[in-house]
Amino acid sequence: MGIFGKKTSRNVAKDRLKLVLIHDRANCSSEILEMIKTDILHVINKYMEVEEQGLEVKIGTTRSDRSNTQVPVLYANIPIRNMRNAGVKHY
């Protein structure tokens, strides 16, 4: 932030770059993320009731334990509405 609370162009550049690189590195478009989301829902729904609106799937970075470098990571936040069916197998 600058003196007057305005974001400096340095920080704008940094934020834009970080976002662009996450997608460049993962080679993963938002379309593919949407498909992953649908598939995850499909699988989890077999076992428990999921809050579909709250489901969040995104790609970020985390520090690797092995090489101490930034590596991409797939985050999935899946709120459960009802555990009632949890553990029941639907084969």
Partner: protein, 265 residues
């Protein structure tokens, strides 16, 4: 032990050729036997930056195709008898060479020289693949701009995919005044984003333009900031511990004193 170092960036115009010329000259100043290999077939420029453009008879393609012996194509530098240039061909294109041929050439050069510095063309196509084929190490040059850093990130990924790990970074054309104002990413910002180890930073210095005009690498003039910075990088390459001076944090009297005393790089 000989070492082949490729100077690469992805994006064009960030200073690969200038960096190659200055690191090569710097290493020669440190009494190493050095050859500069211009891998930018069809768009050769390392010869003019070195001021050796009038001495070219044969080029790297002639050597690879067996039209001449290696010794005939090597051009001795004006100042340093232990510094040579192997120029690119100007009338051919990138497909005139294969990665295997480059690898073989590098092996051959290793028998003669301590350091082989390869000036890589911009892009990620055939020319890039040829340039990195025989390299043991890579130096990635970038500037503190979104487009250059994005391309550098892509290049680092491609280097890794080709088993060139531990690439080192040069951040070129840093403008202290703009960083201070918050209008340019700092060296730390760039390192944070690219997550590779730094080997040096070069301040934006108008002396670079003058030295290129004259065909005389700026590292010869270590009294100017960019020349000193390139010499420091050359020293780091041969294993000297040269501390990094943060020129983005020069504030107040102490900072000014540091810069007057030439402690910034």
């Amino acid at each position: 032990m000989s070492e082949v170092i490729v100077i690469t960036s992805g994006k064009g115009g960030v200073g690969k050729t200038t960096t190659s010329a200055n690191i090569g000259t710097g290493l020669a100043m440190l009494d190493k036997k050095v050859v500069l290999l211009d891998a930018d077939i069809g768009l050769r420029n390392l010869d003019v930056v070195m001021g050796l453009e009038n001495r070219i008879v044969y080029n790297v393609i002639d050597v690879i195709e067996g039209n001449c012996r290696l010794k005939q194509a090597l051009i001795k530098d004006k100042k340093y008898p232990n510094l040579f240039l192997l120029p690119a061909a100007q009338t051919r294109d990138k497909d005139a060479v294969t990665p295997e041929q480059m690898k073989k050439l590098c092996e051959h050069l290793k028998e003669e020289f301590d350091y082989i510095i390869i000036d890589c063309p911009a892009g990620i196509e055939q020319g890039f693949k040829n340039a990195i084929a025989g390299a043991d190490k890579a130096i990635v040059v970038t500037t503190p701009e979104v487009s250059a850093i994005r391309d550098a990130d892509r290049i680092i990924g491609l280097l890794e995919a080709n088993d060139l790990h531990d690439s080192r970074l040069i951040v070129n054309r840093i403008r202290v005044d703009m960083v201070k104002r918050g209008d340019m990413m700092s060296v730390d910002d760039v390192i944070e984003i690219l997550a590779i180890e730094l080997i040096g930073t070069i301040p934006d210095d108008e002396n670079i333009v003058i030295s290129t005009n004259n065909g005389d690498p700026i590292v010869n003039n270590t009294s100017c900031p960019a020349g000193k910075a390139y010499f420091n990088i050359s020293k780091r390459i041969i294993g000297h511990e040269v501390p990094f001076m943060e020129f983005q944090s020069e504030k107040g009297l102490f900072g000014k004193l540091r810069s007057i005393m030439g402690f910034n790089n």
